[in-house]
Amino acid sequence: MTAPDSTTTIDLVARFPDFVTADARPGFSGFIVKKENLVEVATTLRDEFGFDLLSNVTGVDYLADNKMEVVYHLHRTTGGPGLVIKVQVERVDPVEVPSLIDVWAGADFQEREAWDLMGIKFIGHPDLRRILMWEGFEGHPLRKDYKEAFFEEEVKPFKSRWPDGKHTYAEFKNPFRDNLKFPEGFDPDKYAPQSEDDLYFSLERSSMKKEEGDLNTDHIVVNMGPHHPSTHGVLRVAVELDGETITSLKPVMGYLHRNHDKIGERNTYLQIIPYTDRLDYFNSMANNFGYVTTVEKLMNIPVAERAEYIRVIMAELSRVQNHLIFIGMLINDLGSMYTPSLYAFEERELILDIFEAVSGARMMCNYFRFGGVVRDIPEDAMQKIKDLVFDRLQAKTDEMERFLNENEVLVARLQGVHVLNAEEAIHHSVTGPVLRAAGVPYDLRRADPYSVYDRFDFDVAVRYNGDMYDNYLIRFDEIRQSLRILEQALKQIPEGPINSQKPQYQVRVPAGEAYGRIESPKGELGFYVVSNGKPNPYRYHVRAPSFVNLTAVETMCKGVKIADFVALLAMLDIVMGEVDR
């Protein structure tokens, strides 16, 4: 499990001896590809070697070596370990790398993010605008030489806190008394803010055929959000409409961009754990899980046996409540305010009670540590978990199904509305229930087992129609499977220590890189961490399932009615904390 998960079987150097070299840095793996041949290598990998899923694209800024690196993590939807390819370019502006959007459409938003935050220009990308920040923002924040207005020190802990830590607001250290900085000679009176024309031009304006005698009509552009009751948080979508039919749309995000990566690179490894809670705030346990798995891979340490089971129990409970909320919120979006979501929230509250009892907080659990978990499950909480799993959740899921599944209005709204088919979903790097509802049995708990998932007997939920009704039903299937895993885990859980390591607030992480991924309720949640042996990660990147799944939203929604769009968006089950990070 802890071995580097790439380059296991494929010898890419033998295939392309002229422009591929193995990454020989200690602790690193994968292949370095010449940028001129990137597209060729990528196409070969997809077509010949079967790496059909582009998991992750991100950049690393090696300031000292004057290099920028773009890292691609590839996987097969048939399962198994992944492959890493990298492109290294000189760090001179503009940093240019060919775009892979034609090979994998899933590269779209991830490349835009790398452009926005790292300033890497992807040549051939048709719509390379900023994605998380706004057009006109000064600088590329994830570059190592970018300093924020409230910049204090390169890494935490800050020296001003102890031993002579007089409290001051960060504002008082900034000349503007605020979180602001401006380029030299900036004159606000003469500044004209950039218009959003680029966004609107990026909408595919389909020319309307007009014949003699036709009414003079035109497409209109509607902005939904960022304050919109059903875009699941502060997402904005620019929609072009022909009557009520969507002809083109672009999501606009970044309204909740909280600089997770940048803050993460300043934090120590331990300090990142509570920040991961705030990624997908419905599933803090799953986020913890993904992050600690990745760092454990880097540190190469074992996990206490009992802790593995506790982790699985927590992650599965969190999946159950996430899917229940999904169902409640979906019905909310379809126009039935409240009742189903109130029922869903009841069960969620009971599950959150358990989280509160074991970790101390309802939502932001901060429960996992490297090598195990914080504390053992208290006895009364253990009893409560058993009560819920064996006696209640099953019955309540049945009740929910009885309540909704046959409802004629619901069925009429959901059945036959196409979401994605398998090719489209894989091409756009969509993972999670949406991919499985399109007939691809790709579940990381099976495809690339982590933790102790290989010890449980469960089925990967799959449905084949790929319409909204299947997407809705698959959530119930997954709840059932989660309950199955929970039942087995609760019966098998061994006694013993809950952490293989001593509690320590500063962990030693050897230099190297690791990409860890887990099956979060929303899809493949990946963490890419580069360590240089210091107490803080050199590069820390989150591959958020909600963010990557959004890539497919344009394909999903073209040609559907605007009323269905809200429901289709609900299908992706996005959480803005994770989309914008």
Partner: protein, 207 residues
Amino acid sequence: MYGKGILKGLGVTLKRFIDTYLDDISWWMQGKKRYYTTEGVAHRSSKNTRGIFTVQYPEEQLIQPEEFRYIPFLIHDGDDKKDIRCTSCGICAKVCPPQCIWIVRTNDPQTGKPVPQPAEFYIDMDICMNCGFCAEYCPFDAIKMDHDFAIASYERNVYNLEKLLKPASYYAEIRPLNYNKEEEARKAKEAAKAAKASAAATATPAA
């Protein structure tokens, strides 16, 4: 039949509605009070809850588990706020993820050497992310997470030493299990120390 699914769903809603009154009646028959009692709240948070689910804060409150954490506080032994457990070692300030803890260490006015006592201690409650690391990694059991959540105010909250200090008895009250465990560990440590000291005392005259 068209509409059957809707009727089925409505049946579920009706059942939930009736459940409340069934429970009301059965509690009444047993002569127990269902509302405004700890027993009632505990029942409503258990696996057997059905029907009404509301816990009417502030008249009744959810039962907080021992591990519940909200904001940190500092512990002092005894009644006055002089015997502070904190030694200003700074581990909490170092481990704090959003760096919201500020500590000024006391220096002995004569020698200028540090004294294990904080001179000033601030926590910016508007930055604190309630993660509980400070309490988890404190080697002296000096900082703990509070259960009190009703702390909304009309201005920003920066807590100083005065506001942060709470007696050990309060801690024992909100976290009895942890408190007892820590006290036992401390007593064992002191006993070991005393045993060592007495062993040393008996050993010295012989030498």
